[in-house]
Symmetry: C2
Subunit: 296 residues, 2 copies
């Protein structure tokens, strides 16, 4: 069926929440930029809104007729792009489904399982290969290298190099750099979470990602920032499937982040390095614990 219209559906949903608040509708162009889509898609959205009798629309006169109802929204499955679907499906297979290192990966089989064409699966695998978990044998299959202890060690080795350098770079940023303001906000978010840790500890994963990204960004090095994608995806799925002791683990991590933030604010290099190392060490331990040791 050629292209899926997930861009339209997702933008439509976001548009509904957008107009639910402000009841005056902006111009097509404006709507397009605030939703991040082209005018073509905006017009498709407006047409659909009109069909559902949520708005009236004639040329440049648009008016709200009624508030959006839950039934108006497209369901979550419909709005996720094919790439997201494939990623989730693939990660479930290789992480949850007891996939052995060395296992062969078959494009056709994956595509059939997921219910997509082979092209999309192929492109996903090519993109995914930079994460070092799979490898291509040309004219033949892909090989799963596996989420092993070695993988985790190699990953964290690089992470530590990059983050130490980024943290040092952060501490050296000029007084008026916007990152300092972001850091203040980040600190407030952490304090908030720590105050209500019993109910909020599940949200740590997202906060963790945002905090470390802020640090990495200060390196201004595209390779360091890009590498952080690997960290993100690994920890994202890791958090999803390893929930043992996560309350305590996350509480400790929040505290470590706060120490780390305080250290950055001193701008004293040895202090920064100490706080950074300490946090990275426990992050590594957490990751390693979740990896099932191979039998050999």
């Amino acid at each position: 069926m050629a292209k899926q219209n997930t861009v339209f559906k997702d933008a439509f949903n976001r548009c509904l929440t957008l107009i639910a608040e402000a009841d005056a509708l902006p111009s097509e162009l404006e709507l397009g930029t605030s939703l991040g889509v082209s005018r073509t898609t905006v017009r498709a959205i407006l047409t659909h809104l009109k069909t559902l009798e949520i708005i009236s629309w004639d040329k440049r006169t648009k008016a709200m007729l009624r508030a959006p109802r839950p039934a108006d929204f497209f369901s979550a499955e419909e709005t996720s792009s094919l790439a997201e679907i494939i990623e989730r499906s693939f990660m479930r297979r290789i992480l949850a489904g007891g996939a052995e290192p060395g296992m062969q990966i078959n494009e056709l089989e994956l595509a059939r399982d997921i219910g997509t064409g082979t092209t999309s699966v192929r492109e996903f695998l090519i993109r995914f290969s930079r994460f070092g978990l799979i490898e291509k044998r040309p004219n033949s299959h892909w090989v799963l290298k596996g989420f092993t202890r070695d993988f985790a060690l190699e990953l964290t080795e690089i992470r530590e190099m990059f983050e130490l350098r980024s943290a040092a770079g952060f501490a050296a940023l000029p007084e008026d750099h916007p990152a300092w303001h972001d850091l203040e906000e980040m600190e407030a978010l952490h304090r908030d979470m720590l105050a209500n840790i019993d109910t909020r500890y599940r949200d740590f994963s997202e906060l963790d990602e945002r905090f470390h990204l802020l640090v990495h960004r200060s390196s201004s090095n595209r390779f360091i920032i890009d590498f952080y994608d690997i960290i993100t995806i690994v920890f994202h799925y890791h958090y999803q499937w390893n929930k043992a002791n996560d309350r305590e683990r996350n509480a400790r991590a929040v505290q470590e982040h706060l120490n780390y933030i305080a250290a950055l604010k001193t701008r004293d290099l040895p202090t920064v390095e100490r706080a950074c190392r300490q946090h990275l060490r426990s992050a590594r331990e957490t990751l390693l614990q979740s990896i099932q040791q191979p039998d050999v």
Copy 2:
């Protein structure tokens, strides 16, 4: 036309040089493993060899009838895979053809220019994107970030981190590790080249690549080793299109490599670090000099 039979053609050429020396033909299976192809392809090759009356072939009796002639070989264009063709073509466009940073890259146009389908171009761009020179705008074009001074600085920053760590790792390898033997060979090759530098300086590019790969490999970290692909491709094309003063430049680099090798053999960390830093510094200078400064 679906798949190109470049695997067959390339393997056929390699087979010709292989049998030109030894005149007894091995079994199909054996031939397959030494050429790195399946039995299906081996049989296609044997059939073609028979058609050209280079060998006689009846069941397991195969005999050479005549030596291969230049005309028997497939031409170089026919044997290079589509991916290689696309890479060369693309690199020529973005490096030689005065491509400005910020320029849009159009899959369809590229494909038409090169004379291939869009799928292959797309897959190439996805693979290539990890080199940090291009970036995708989803549902829209790719953007060329350009081979700029910033790019070179970011690249060399990582390179220096990785290579210093790898070099330190190399110096710490146990006495009986095979890498020490490879290093001896490498040293001999360098001495050879230095002795005949006037005629051999053009081959330095390849030697350089092999030497640094040897060092990087000792890190045993897939991310470090994979990153070296970026270095390789950048320096490969860099050498191709920047030939100014290359004789002196290469002579100096060979000497630096020899110092570096000597330093590794001392296994003394400060010595290694000094030699490594010195070579990397001049490599960076060379790279930077070749980049045209943007007008701003």
